[in-house]
Amino acid sequence: MKISTISKHRLNNKYLAKNSSIWKHTKQKKVNENSHIYYSFSKQKLSSNIAKWNYKKDAVSLLENNIPSDIRDKFNSLANRWEKETCYKSLMSDIVIHEAYQQIIGMGSAVVPLLLEDLTKSDPRHWFWALKAITGTSPIKPEHKGRIKKMAEDWLEWGKANGYEFRYSL
């Protein structure tokens, strides 16, 4: 199965790298190994496994290949410049008012999958203000205020509920 063929099935299936350690926890059968890269198993099974094993650090957006490269490149460039120029600041107002951060907000809903994808990292960057500005909502639970990983989890839950799903690869 070629990657392009896999893409056609991605809305119904999740794919894991052949050498993913997640496989040892599943009883799913491989469906095709011509590409010797991907196997498939059910979305429901993957979701439960993800929650169970908490492999968030390996998560990448299911929509990865559907995001135009120019959008991704612009986001990465702005995000890197923003963090480089604000990395010693502690006041969030100084951090989120930065011109590059504001440009990211200005990219609108196209950048939401990238922001959510970034929140899956083990030490996530502070995209909460941008996500709130773009989506008009804030799913952060009151008891999670300021607790960055919990805040990220709240946003990822929101992402799942709003059609932003993730596949896991190693």
């Binding site: 604000t86 502690s90 006041l91 030490d123 804030s138 607790r147």
Partner: protein, 154 residues
């Protein structure tokens, strides 16, 4: 702290570029980088949360203090943890002191915490914690020490 030579060297280079006074004073990196907490939380002894008066429901800020960026709001916030404004940063046995930096507009930009040995420690943005002298991080980024607060410790 587990940090390899290259990472440690890069951290020193970045710090001294941002804070030129560090190269003229004593300081030491005491942690890895993390985006989990900031200097204000660190000064309060909380290394699992990010304090910010930014309006909205994202970041932690004591309910007793207004979400404003001025000296009065920060004093009220730190008072919720038992600190009171004091006259200086001289080491006093039985007290924990913090130093709050500000720029010319008076808005706090950074907080440092005094250690048991009388030296000062800080969390620098999303960068490392360091042990330093008070003027080691004075300058363009944080301004100067604006005021001190202290609380009794057992």
């Amino acid at each position: 702290m587990d940090m390899n030579f290259d990472t440690h060297y890069e951290a020193i280079e970045a710090l001294e570029s941002e804070f030129p006074n560090l190269s003229k004073t004593n300081y030491e990196i005491t942690s890895k980088r993390t985006r989990t907490y900031n200097c204000f939380a660190y000064a309060m002894g909380e290394d699992d949360i990010w304090w910010s008066p930014l309006p909205g429901d994202e970041y932690y800020w004591p309910e007793e203090a207004p979400r404003e960026e001025n000296k009065e709001a920060f004093v009220l916030a730190f008072q919720t943890r038992g600190f009171q404004v004091c006259s200086d940063g001289e080491f006093e046995a039985g007290f924990l002191k913090i130093a709050i930096y500000a720029k010319a507009n008076g808005c706090p930009t950074h907080a440092a915490k005094q250690s048991n040995s009388g030296t000062w420690t800080s969390k620098l943005g999303i960068h490392e914690d360091i042990e330093h002298e008070l003027n080691g991080i004075s300058g363009d980024e944080y301004g100067e020490v604006s005021f001190f607060m202290k609380k009794t410790i057992n």
